[in-house]
């Protein structure tokens, strides 16, 4: 574990997670979740878990985002107030 990188990435994780559940536009929320997945994949590579890191980048940030956008294409993009 490299402590400065770790601290910075974990701080960004909390900020991105809060943004993802706060923002009203659902497409923006999904893209923020994808960014969250990429940052946490970087955290795992930096914590010596390379296998978990590249699986998360492929499955979490790639496939899950594609599923969610495909589902969102069938419904309304805005969240109700």
């Amino acid at each position: 574990m490299i402590i400065p990188i770790d601290l910075l990435a974990l701080f960004f994780l909390v900020v991105i997670a809060l943004a993802a559940i706060t923002v009203r536009d659902l497409l923006a929320a999904i893209v923020l979740l994808s960014a969250y997945s990429f940052v946490i994949a970087a955290v795992w590579v930096e914590m010596h878990a390379v296998d978990v890191g590249f699986t998360e980048a492929a499955v979490g940030a790639g496939a899950t985002t594609a599923f969610m956008i495909a589902a969102l294409a069938r419904m309304k993009r805005e969240e109700k107030r």
């Binding site: 809060l18 955290v43 499955v59 899950t64």
Partner: protein
């Protein structure tokens, strides 16, 4: 008292994992939109995975620097015996890595099934807001 503060600060990974877990939990319970609930579920599970990966990283537990990836160089017949394969090389515990690899795939499958259910709810009720779905159910007396 000082050792307590030091102990808390040294294991900040676990604290941030709990913060992320509660952010996801809040989204799952308090948000009205079904898509937002799913995003909360994703954040919740990634926080748990972060906790396990932090457990496997022995540099948090006091080994200090010099910890490497769990890849054994060369062919060592005694490599499976313990934590230290080569002389003086300490590597992260690979068991939580393997467990969490499964958890990531399970998370993707769970999200896919939940999205199928959300699409079906949208076809039936024309909305993905939880209160509107409950209201329509009351109206039609289901």
């Amino acid at each position: 008292m000082e050792w307590l503060v030091e102990e808390i600060l040294a294991k900040y990974n676990y604290w941030i994992s709990i913060v992320l877990m509660l952010i996801g939990f809040y989204a799952m319970i308090a948000k009205n939109n079904l898509m937002k609930k799913l995003i909360g579920l994703n954040i919740f599970q990634t926080a748990i995975i972060l906790f396990f990966i932090s457990l496997s990283d022995v540099s948090i537990g006091g080994w200090g620097g010099g910890v490497t990836e769990p890849i054994v160089k060369g062919t060592l017949p005694w490599a499976a015996a313990g934590h230290v394969a080569e002389e003086g090389v300490v590597y992260a515990n690979p068991l939580p890595h393997v467990l969490m690899l499964t958890a990531i795939v399970v998370l993707a499958a769970t999200t896919a099934v939940a999205l199928a259910l959300v699409i079906r709810i949208h076809e039936e009720y024309g909305t993905i807001e939880e209160d509107e779905v409950i209201e329509k159910e009351r109206e039609h007396g289901v």
